[in-house]
Each structure stands twice: as structure tokens, then as C-alpha cells.
Symmetry: C2
Subunit: 242 residues, 2 copies
């Protein structure tokens, strides 16, 4: 297996960084190939605009997707973006490792998606969901959250963590074709003792070594859709007394 | 009314920029006060770490929230962050204007939230939801989306746009106490003729001039919660025959 970790934490002694180190060690020992994009260490720039490209299709008006398609044809991505595209295309599995900031990804990781998942590269020409570019590959979010599991439950003020991750799972990872593995979630890491922290590291190692068998979220089958809208079913056409 | 617009689009001729210009003109003519943070024009840096501060609490290990609290006490925010905090605290209403990229905010706007909504300033010390810092103030997302309304419906592949905006509405805006106004959503702007575009501009102007009366999303009342988890109700304690 070829695995790409994208890490979005500014502190090398964080649990986020430790989880990646633990997994890289275990996967390498098991003869898997691993790449890590440590976005803070790389000083990755998350702002998406003309800086993504060495090419220019329309110098007057910036239409980002049109420039992305043109850059795909002309090999016109800026070197830092092309390097990330190369790692992404090389990998069989993608792991996004991040602390949940404001119920979603830190900006440095959102910008990695904004810039690297370019039109023409990661989607386009009818390639999405079950016809997506990354079909047959697996992706997973591994997140730390400040609150407790109860706060992120159906009775919690924040609601289930899956609801917060829905735009990432469904709007990004599944959209480009990945099978989306259930997220690995660590609650309240700052309150953990060493023993609990080590337990999380062991658990993550086990998850990563068995990623191909880990449960995944339901797939959306494009055969049931027409123009990204559900086709009418027999039940629909029977009408409804209501 | 004092309104802060935060605009996250790289193209001055975009509908996003036009919507803000339209609203600013109409609100100013009606003697409201308006500020605009045009993040691309300002070259706003969305990466959150020690660069947010002029102060240092712990030089060894970066704990972002602890540094934020310390900077709040010591007036230690970096000038670009303090300037945004000042505008935020000044305003009665906040409008986030952005194109939906990957079903959420562009990184430049996510980073504005990551950096500006600092612990100690925008929340902390039990100040959230109905006890939040911005209680009594209104906030709204104004978004353009590439797909059609049908694609963002309950039968659409993406699902309802409110579901995609839930982390922003509930996890950011409502968390800090805002009454969250129903989003203003424009579908498929790139396919619009001038007349349709002008209709959207008029509609947005009307929405902004009546922001105080616009419908809002349900509030979460902290009185029903204990430690951010719903208190047991009479129905819970009666048990359930299943």
C-alpha cells in the first residue's frame, strides 16, 4: 500500500504529529510505502488564486476552474502544487490528520484541498463519486477534538462529529471517488494521561495496518442519479395522498 | 446598524464582489455604517500559529488557545489580527461572503475565523451559544455555489446546502452567540444572464436592508444543557418500552 498523510498541526509534540509518526513507523516496518506532507513544517501557502499556476489562460478575468483545466493540459501548475498532486496521484490511500478547528479543517489543510484537488486533475469531465478519479482508493480523516464524546453526540450541543465532517467526507473525499473510511477520532487529548495517549497511538496503528478492512461510509452510486439529482423511483410515480 | 462584510473572492468582477458593492451602496445610502474586509485584496494570511501574536506565554510548546488567552490579557495580537478583531467587535452584524469551495469556506476565510475568533476574545469562560460574546447580534453567510438548486436539495447528490453550511452556522457563528440568519444562496452564477444577475443583486440589497427581520435558524438554549450535553427530560426518566 502507498499511503499519503497530510498533517495540519503547528506543534511537533502534538498528538496529531505523534499519531502520524506512529503510523509511519508501523506501516514502514510492514513494508508499506509512506509519504507525509507536514503542511506547517513545509510552510504550505493555503491561498488559492493565480499563484497556483505558471500558465495563464485568461489574463483579464480569473476563473479558477478554467485556469486549473488549462494548467492540467499545459503542465502549468506551480512547483509546490505539482509536488502535492504527484504525491496524491501516487498514493493508494489518503489520510488527513488534523485538529478539528471550528468544526472543520484548519485553513492550511482546507487550502491544500482548494489548491491541489484541481479541476482536470481530481475531477472534471463527469468524473465524480462512483465515477471519480480516486475510485477504488481509500481516504480517512484522523481528527483530534477539544470537547468530549458526549458533547459530540446526538445529545451534545455540537452534535455528532460525523455531521461536522460531512462536508469533508461527502463534499471532498467521496466526491473525488474515494471510499471514505470511518474517521479516527480522539476526544479531549489535552486531558489525557500518558497511558491513555499511548492507547490511542496503539489503536491508530492497528487502524492503519488494517485500513483495507476498516468500515466505510455508504457510497453514492451515480447510476441512481441523473445530472446529480436522484432519478424518480417507482414509489415516486405512484403519487401520495398527502 | 454597523455591518462588517468579510469577502473571500479573488476576482473583483465576480458576483461575490458585486454583491458586497451593491449592499455597501444601499446600506450607506440608508445611513448604516459599513466595513469591508476584502481578504484577497488585503492579502490576508490565513495560517494560524505564533504569527498571530506579539506575545509569548510558553516558548517551548505552542498551545494555541492558551496563547490566545494570554494575548487577550496582554494586548498581544499581531496588528493584522487586532485590526480584524476591532472591526468584529465594532459591528452589530457580520456577513461572510464567499463562493462555496469544496462544500465549505475558501481557506482564506477559514483562516480569518481560525485567527480572529480567538479564545478570550470571541469565546471562553463559559461564553458560547445563548451566553455567547455576540449574543443579540446577527450573522449571515452569503454564498455562491457552482451547482444547481436541485443538486443541493434532498434529492441532490450534494444534499441540502444547509447541511454543508452546518459547521459554519452551528459550529462557528451560533457558537459565539450570533443569531444566524438564513443564508443568501445564489446557484450557478456563471450560467446567469445580466438580467438574472441583476435580480440577485436587488434581492441581496433587500435582504441586507431588512436583515433585522430576516428569518433565522433555531437557537440552542444553554439552559437545556449541562456541560454542553442535553439535560435528561421527564420523558427520558419515564423509561421506554422500546
Amino acid at each position: 500500500m502507498k499511503i499519503l498523510f497530510v498533517l495540519a498541526h503547528h506543534e511537533p509534540t502534538s498528538l496529531n504529529a505523534a499519531l502520524v509518526r506512529e503510523a509511519v513507523g508501523a506501516l514502514s516496518a510492514a513494508h508499506h510505502q509512506v509519504e507525509v506532507s507536514d503542511l506547517y513544517a513545509m510552510r504550505f501557502d493555503p491561498v488559492s488564486d493565480r499563484r497556483n499556476f505558471t500558465t495563464v489562460k485568461d489574463p483579464v478575468r480569473l476563473k479558477q476552474q478554467a485556469e486549473e483545466e488549462y494548467a492540467t493540459q499545459m503542465q502549468g501548475f506551480a512547483p509546490p502544487i505539482q509536488a502535492e498532486i504527484d504525491k496524491l496521484m501516487w498514493s493508494d490511500a489518503l489520510v488527513l490528520q488534523f485538529p478539528l478547528w471550528w468544526c472543520s479543517m484548519p485553513a492550511i489543510l482546507k487550502g491544500w484541498v482548494d489548491r491541489v484537488f484541481a479541476c482536470g486533475v481530481a475531477y472534471g469531465g463527469g468524473r465524480y463519486y462512483s465515477r471519480g478519479v480516486f475510485r477504488g482508493k481509500r481516504a480517512m480523516c484522523s481528527v483530534t477534538v477539544g470537547g468530549s464524546q458526549a458533547m459530540y453526540s446526538s445529545r451534545g450541543a455540537y452534535g455528532p462529529v460525523d455531521r461536522m465532517l460531512f462536508p469533508v467526507h461527502h463534499g471532498i473525499l467521496h466526491f473525488v471517488g474515494y471510499t471514505v473510511v470511518d474517521p479516527f477520532v480522539v476526544y479531549s487529548p489535552s486531558k489525557m494521561k500518558d497511558e491513555q495517549r499511548n492507547e490511542q497511538l496503539r489503536s491508530f496503528r492497528a487502524r492503519m495496518l488494517n485500513l483495507d478492512k476498516a468500515p466505510s461510509l455508504p457510497d453514492l452510486d451515480l447510476a441512481e442519479y441523473d445530472g446529480l439529482v436522484l432519478k424518480p423511483t417507482a414509489a415516486d410515480s405512484q403519487g401520495c395522498q398527502q
